[in-house]
């Protein structure tokens, strides 16, 4: 019988790592707290940079779960060290004794209501990037009548010390530009603004997407962090920012505002970290043995990481890291005579 490995978190990182571990001859036990596998990817409609449908990435993974024991709607009750093994107790009463645990706990979208000045949860026409994906996925038109002007606010909960997230969430810039393009494709008459601090178009084809947004779609980019959103008597929004390149305050009446919520450490990650006695960074993400040299390995025997549990990442980066983590686990388990 093959050796068990516990994988905590059934998003792309967890699923991909489980498949790789299975291919390497192990029996992964994949734990997911939500009712379905897939994480945030399951919610998303299309992916940057080329607009591939998210399910075309996820579905093949979900159809290839043979040999993987997975439990949804399940959380971790406790993890204890026993000699060179970990005893993992699950909320469904089961428990597993394994030598290696992979933490692929992912991220939570930044809670937009924490940026009080943007009025999410107070002003009806303020929505999040995830909600916009829901709309795209449902193929539904915006729920408000007469959307003529829409804005995308970059860096919501990213690069923001007051919101407790100092880090750049890496993917929101290109997501905003992707969503802006999609919006223009569906509603060419709508004026679309993007409020950004820096456009971090770091990946291949990202800059092309930006150029397309400018040239083909006429998306208007305003360099300035949105300072305040308020609501007019008819429910429309006033967005205030500085047009920093112009050097003057800017006030735009909007029919809808999309907040590009960044990646925050997933709820419960720090609790898991406590259970296995590994450090959590100042930013709330897990800390690998070496952020450059060993990004999938925890500074503790038998604990491994994959995906956004160690910081914001794109899907391809996550999948790559999942494979790397599986290999790291394999090597760890095959190396004899550990202390």
């Amino acid at each position: 019988m093959s050796e068990n490995v516990v994988v905590i978190g059934g998003g792309p990182a967890g699923i991909e790592a489980s498949r790789r571990l299975r291919d390497l001859g192990y029996t992964p036990i994949l734990i997911e707290k939500e009712p379905v596998l897939g994480g945030h990817l399951a919610r998303w409609d299309r992916l940057f940079p080329d607009g591939v449908e998210a399910h075309t990435v996820l579905d093949p993974m979900l159809q290839d779960l043979d040999g993987i024991k997975y439990f949804t709607d399940t959380t971790i009750s406790s993890i204890n060290r026993l000699k060179d093994t970990w005893v993992v107790k699950l909320s469904n009463g089961l428990s597993a004794q394994v030598r290696a645990i992979l933490l692929s706990t992912g991220f939570d979208l930044f809670k937009a209501e924490k940026k009080e000045e943007y009025g999410y949860g107070i002003y009806e026409r303020v929505i999040t990037n995830a909600e916009l994906e829901d709309w795209f996925k449902a193929g539904a038109a915006p729920q408000f009548d007469g959307v003529h002007t829409i804005g995308f606010v970059h860096c919501v909960g990213s690069r923001d010390e007051k919101a407790g997230n100092r880090q750049c969430s890496k993917v929101c810039c290109v997501t905003a530009v992707k969503q802006a393009c999609e919006f223009k494709e569906k509603y060419p008459e709508v004026t679309v603004y993007c409020f950004y601090m820096d456009l971090r178009m770091f990946g291949r084809k990202f800059e092309d997407l930006y150029l397309k947004a400018q040239k083909e779609h006429g998306v208007r980019f305003v360099r300035g962090r949105v300072s305040e959103v308020s609501e007019d008597i008819d429910g429309h929004l006033f967005v205030k920012a500085e047009d920093t390149l112009f050097g003057k305050p800017l006030k735009i009446k909007m029919d809808m505002l999309v907040l590009m919520c960044g990646m925050a450490p997933a709820d419960g990650t720090s609790e898991l970290a406590r259970m296995v006695s590994i450090p959590v960074g100042e930013d709330g993400f897990l800390v690998p043995a070496s952020i450059v040299g060993a990004p999938c390995v925890a500074p503790r025997d038998g604990i491994f990481f994959a995906g956004t549990s160690t910081g914001p990442k794109t899907i391809p980066e996550t999948l790559g890291e999942a494979s790397a983590a599986a290999l790291a686990i394999d090597r760890y388990l095959k190396t004899p005579a550990r202390r």
Partner: protein, 233 residues
Amino acid sequence: MGRIYERLAQDYRIKEGLKACISCGTCTAICPAAEFYRYNPKKIVTIVQSRDDNAITELLKSDVIWYCGECLSCVTRCPRKNAPGLVIMALRALSIELGCFVESEKGRQMLPLMHALQRNILDYGYCVYPKTFLYEKHPEYGTVGQWTQEHMEDVYERLGAHLGQVGPGALRRIPQESLDELKAIFDLTGATRWMDIVEEKSREKAAEMGLSMEEYEAQAFNQSSSCHLNPQE
């Protein structure tokens, strides 16, 4: 790092108010002064952050540091926990210390301000006092204000104030020993010295401008050139 910047960095308001600005513009976006003056707090912070002594000295002599209304609305929004308003306050303090304030029209307003406020505090214990708040200088006080001023004793008494009286209550006469304490604090902590600097530098500047001190003070109080304002749409 230059000497002027070093001196500025001693100010606790710089320590509190300037960590590392990312020029995102949230401060300017909601700044009341940025809307009604030719003013941009972000630019000022950028200059201070540059630690360029020449540029900072330019600032100290310019009008722009005097546009801020110190409402500190900027503090709420900064994602880097900076406080542009506090940076401005530190710049203004240094401008006074170095005597740079007389080089700008708005800076020269220090003289009437200093006179009004320091005298009020030392004479009455408060920054504002009805007997020195005159309709002639404050026409917006309105017809009701004019009326209040004309019937000061009656009005304040009816409203329950103890104008000029002994004991607790609004507008009471502050005991002399308390006013003396304020004076001692002024002498010890630099307020008196500030008054001296402002008066001396203003006298020099008035002479340079060919004005008497009274004319200089009146001009500072009343005159505003259009260069401070944004162009009409």
